[in-house]
Symmetry: C2
Subunit: 340 residues, 2 copies
DNA sequence: TCTAAAAGGTTAAACGATTACCAATCGATA
DNA sequence: TATCGATTGGTAATCGTTTAACCTTTTAGA
């Protein structure tokens, strides 16, 4: 089967304690014995048994990452950034999908706690996290939130510069001569709220009155990209077009943009000649459409990296309540394409 | 901190062995004592320590899933199907990305073996897996391959019906009147080989001679979707267009289709009037382009599920060499859209 | 009533590491 | 020379379970 530390010790003619000390550099060992141990290790192709070590040390070296919706590519990019940083420090992310369902999210968290992760990174489905307190109880477990701000629970938080991103985008539309700019969001969470605020600020600063008929919210979030094409944002777009006055549409996130663009295309609207279009969140497919679509690009990889760094910091320093919580904003940038 | 089995035993007034037996239903216990134990469990909010159990039982209840390229959505769908089945049997997938690099793949496998997974599902980057024998050595570890056939190592294998899929697609193009049909593949692996064979069979059956100038292979695989737009398949498409005779292009996979379509669009080619287009592998963005793009759709979720089922079977029966290896084909279907 | 078998429960040895504590050796110093 | 401290190594307890083996009772059948 597999060699254990005992057999290494026997082959090297020392005790298991010494082998352990050599392996972990946790005590001085005479060079001679050290090499004897090392030779035994390579000879037996010995690999430490992580379960035994973890049991003894009381840690798992895994960080649970609870993702709101794996169908949304955005979260995958976060996961990649996160993984990169965690691996560097010997930790490993454990990915799990909530499919935009609160009850699945809770189930996932329970599961991860049961498998004794050392930390939790959460991209929330909805904002309420009062349940987390009960589940975590009084053990040391750092929690980092990304993408949406939770309520009822405190932890580190990493968000994009939502307000500024939306502001810049709408300002750009205004600069191109648009005054009748509509906003199509989706679920009304803290993040979407900030984007709406940016949208309003751009209008107000330009002296354009905010027309609440131009703001469409409350879409149902779906897991299926294909369903999204004819989902709420599709019909909301049609409603806006029927007003007859809108000359530009800004979509509040990547999921909403699917329905918006599908509608524009199916209604035969000339983009950008008749209606200009822009969206929050960049995505690969925005480059493949005719016209290609302008976007406020987040840096999801960066968000993941920051989340990883903060997690590692907490893990190493066990400093969760020493200095309050981090509240990081990762910048966005405007990518202009053909749609405006 | 957290309650252990000992405290449950003390509270219930029994031995730890009895608690364990109640928990695992591994021995008869008088109903009365059983409820005493159960009450103690809920009262202390006792959760079993998975590391201790795993150490004792010598299993981790995790299955490593080594993905060739997480930027390719196809693998994500496989992962979802896999996860679904594994969770049902109390196992959990551990996802890890090889970024299309053989050396990262090997690193990943080593990592997973070191963390003592109970099984391995692999979507290979390249086909050579002779290294696996050495790494696994002589322990019981089921290995299931998906998407590409490995060489140098035997395991269960789950593939799409590549030959038939390509055959049907090209046959359809021929039925629409095309005789000058080109094929753009990418890396020349077993899977792409099968698709080429399907392509050739369709032509031959229709009495159309195979023109080897129409077959472009050997593209460099990239992880970046954006780079792929102007990668090898882009220039291969231009070469084909310069021949002046091609009336239809069939793309061998979803990655190649990105470059092909980008080229068609940037060269101002009318699709499907001047050149028809079709691709192996369905993807969300194929529905958002103008025109939308026809595809041979795999069922990645189904592939993942089958992989999960087979893995579970092996795990339960420990029957890896009793009955040879599975060799499953998951069907494809033609999705016709505007591009042909 | 006696015996065998079944049932209910406990003891203690693992699993494979880590680590506090102890013991021996050796120079160097007072 | 006796002592001190550093260095090197070993002993054994521990982490939280599982499980084989064993000991008592009960139960059932004759």
């Amino acid at each position: 089967m597999k060699a254990s530390i005992k057999e290494v010790a026997r082959l090297a003619g020392v005790s298991v304690a010494t082998v352990s000390h050599v392996l972990n550099k946790t005590k001085n060992v005479r060079p001679e014995t050290r090499t004897r141990v090392e030779q035994a290790v390579t000879k037996l192709n010995y690999q430490i048994n992580p379960m035994a070590r973890n049991l003894r040390r009381g840690e798992t070296k895994t960080i649970g990452f609870v993702v709101a919706n794996m169908a949304n590519y955005y979260y995958l990019d976060i996961a990649r950034g996160l993984e990169q940083r965690l691996l560097k420090s010997g930790y490993r992310p454990l990915l799990i999908d909530s499919q935009e369902e609160k009850h699945i999210e809770i189930e996932n968290v329970k599961n991860l706690l049961a498998s004794a992760v050392d930390g939790l990174v959460i991209a929330p489905t909805t904002e309420d996290f009062s349940y987390l307190k009960l589940l975590i109880g009084r053990r040391h477990l750092p929690v980092v939130f990304v993408d949406r701000r939770p309520t009822g629970f405190e932890g580190d938080l990493i968000l994009a510069t939502n307000e500024q991103g939306a502001y810049q985008a709408v300002k750009m539309l205004i600069a191109k001569g648009h005054r009748e700019v509509a906003f199509i969001g989706s679920r009304y969470d803290s993040t979407m709220m900030e984007r709406v605020i940016g949208y309003r600020r751009a209008l107000t600063e330009a002296g354009i009155p905010v027309n609440t008929n131009y703001i469409k919210m409350g879409a149902k979030v779906s897991v299926s990209l294909n369903e999204l094409r004819h989902g709420t944002s599709f019909s909301q777009t049609r409603e806006l077009l029927e007003l007859g006055s809108v000359t530009a549409i800004f979509s509040g996130n990547n999921l909403a943009s699917i329905g918006v663009f599908t509608c524009l295309r199916e209604m035969g609207v000339q983009v950008p000649q008749e209606v200009a279009f822009m969206t929050f969140d960049d995505d690969f497919w925005l480059t493949m459409t005719t016209p290609s679509i302008s976007a406020v690009a987040q840096k999801p990889g960066e968000i993941g990296k920051v989340a990883g760094d903060i997690m590692i910091e907490r893990l190493l320093k066990q400093a969760e309540r020493i200095e309050g919580y981090h509240n990081v904003r990762v910048s966005t940038r405007l990518i202009l394409r053909e749609s405006c």
